[in-house]
Symmetry: none
Subunit: 212 residues, 4 copies
DNA sequence: CATGAATGAGGATTCATTCAT
DNA sequence: AATGAATGAATCCTCATTCAT
């Protein structure tokens, strides 16, 4: 009785892979059709499994949605936004943050699409969890940076939260407008060029009358 | 034989009122449940009409969604963002724009919610129409303003589109994060204070080392 | 607005008829397939309505089951077992009760089938309600009768509850065994003959040695 | 080459034990959820085996149901109701039969529950088999007894079948009502007291006017 | 025009059964 | 022989839409 053919470890790995496979399919379909518009049948087909199999790994459709940020987004985000070598020039540091964010966002356009569509409809707890793992993750990272640097006299003494979100917003809105809402580029600049200009703007302001 | 009880004009007015009444209900429900999650029954109940009546004024559920920006948002927006007295100081002008936007956004949180959730799922044409009447409306207005003022030497010679969306984004992200995503205020500042700081930041930059 | 074409009364009558029509179909199918084995599709077909219509009148499948005794059985039962002319001879009275019960049971074989199959699986509250409207209804009626008659010296001083259920059981088992369990008659006597013998037995006992 | 580890006999015994273990689990779950409501998964869990294993011992779910009376109930029943020492006084004998039945019923409440729920839905053959091994088993035993005793002049010359089922029903209805339908005792008497009263009633009748 | 009952297609979910390991 | 993941048919229920009144 009870003869495990596979080691527990191997089994867990297989299970984890299967979950990821299903979640990737779910993400694609959610992004394309919205949560309600997505059907389990379509997700199953795209994942290459039967409908029933999905329910062996997730409690229900909503569980798929709620598992997305935890299983898909968390690892790369954590890797990117760790409090390390911030000892660079502001321009360099902020540009790097923007480009890293961009990379993440681009790799997860679908997830952001899902987030914008689904978060407002979620209940309190799910919403918190979802945001903490995505938008707020980057925002908090920046806030801490600004706090430290304001203390060091690098930045003007403004509210760190305002600095963080303002900086984040300058760029994020570009991204969302083009990639999520419009679905196409409307400004004839690369993201790298935009990032450079945005950081410059953020650091030195828009006014020409600096000399005065 | 049958004399018309109501003049054609009066009739049209009544019809228009009825449409607005239904659309307001639809907006509320869409915002709360998402497009797919909303039911005609609930919209009908909230509008105080029967389900069948809705189909006398709108072709189908999707028509309700697509009619929202045209009928609900357009008039007030047009009133606010007309190319008039821009001859103020940049700080004053931009603060006014932000506060006016804020007013519009606050009055239409529901519509933005619907927009973020539904636009990505819409087809090309509907998406264009939707955005042109909302986000892009303000953005274009700002772009024209920056174009003119750059020419006049007020602002540095950056891409007007970048300036417009960057400026817009600085503030909009606050709004969306707090009102739409989180559903509550997390920064201990009023929007007026935030607007002031954001404009200051936008004009003069974040760096402390200006003096040098 | 709001022009009711039908009087409220007429509407209620129509609704009531429709409910009855659906319940009759449900009863038949439940009896034949059991509660879980019955499908809404089959009930709908037998009732001559669409599946959706059923949900306009009943919350869900379980509501159909729970509505059965209240809507189908209650009226005729109440009519039959009212505390009236009990001033007959015991033999006459008890025979009449048995024959009346028989009539009810025969007319509601299906309901008893459903009751025996479903009641044990129901939750406390539903079970109480169900039994109070069926088995216990007759049983309580008999109990009150025996209580009164024992006081008058007609019957031996046994526990009225025991008398009631014992008497009821003598006959009921015939009915259930034949009509519900076996599905066919196995005793070569009519129910009328059985009732006569059962009452005789109940009143005078089975022993032959009375004379002694 | 391969020497059998277990003797054929031992093997059969193990198989038989495993079957019994699964059937006991099935009985419990069927009783609690009904046949359709029971899931193989739950039965497997309760039996401490995997779902697949069940199919090594039983063809399918229905086979579990049909195997119940043969494997679970038959042996003890046969032991109890054998045609032996009937040479006791009627009161003694009948009381013993009732108490023995009671013991069997109490030990098999679940089986009776399943029987009442499932038998009406079974096909002809299965129903016969099921009943022959349960209710009719006792009933036939009694019928033979009454037949013999009527010939000996102990009982009045009534139909033996009527006597048997009547006697059986007097008590059985108590049991079913309390244990199966209501799920609780509602009469303040022990089953032993009820059995005594029921036998007394059966033998001597309910009428007080015996003396006359 | 307004109503709301009826419709039935569509979709989430369950679960008996199979079969590779 | 035992396992339990995978399967997909089956089924309850929802809801946009229609249409007779």
């Amino acid at each position: 009785m009870m003869t495990p053919r596979l080691s527990v470890q191997r089994k867990e790995q297989l299970e984890s892979e299967r979950k990821a496979q299903i979640l990737r399919a779910a993400l694609t379909v959610f992004a394309r059709k919205g949560f309600r518009g997505a059907t389990i049948a379509e997700i199953a087909k795209k994942a290459g499994v039967s409908e029933g199999t999905i329910y062996n790994y997730f409690r229900n459709k909503e569980d798929l949605l709620l598992s997305l940020p935890r299983e898909i987004l968390a690892p790369p985000l954590a890797a990117h936004f760790s409090p390390e070598k911030e000892a660079e020039s502001p321009q360099n540091f902020l540009e790097k943050v923007l480009m890293a964010s961009l990379e993440q966002f681009t790799a997860n356009v679908d997830l952001i699409r899902v987030l914008l569509a689904s978060v407002p409809v979620m209940d309190e707890a799910a919403r918190e969890e979802y945001l903490r793992r995505t938008v707020l993750f980057v925002s908090d990272f920046l806030e801490k940076y600004f706090q430290k640097e304001i203390a060091r006299g690098t930045y003007r003494s403004l509210h760190p939260s305002v600095l963080a979100r303002t900086f984040f917003g300058m760029f994020f809105v570009f991204f969302v407008t083009q990639e999520i809402l419009l679905g196409k580029r409307t400004v004839p600049l690369t993201y790298e060029e935009i990032a450079k200009e945005a950081v410059d703007l953020f650091l030195h302001g828009a006014l020409a009358s600096k000399a005065n």
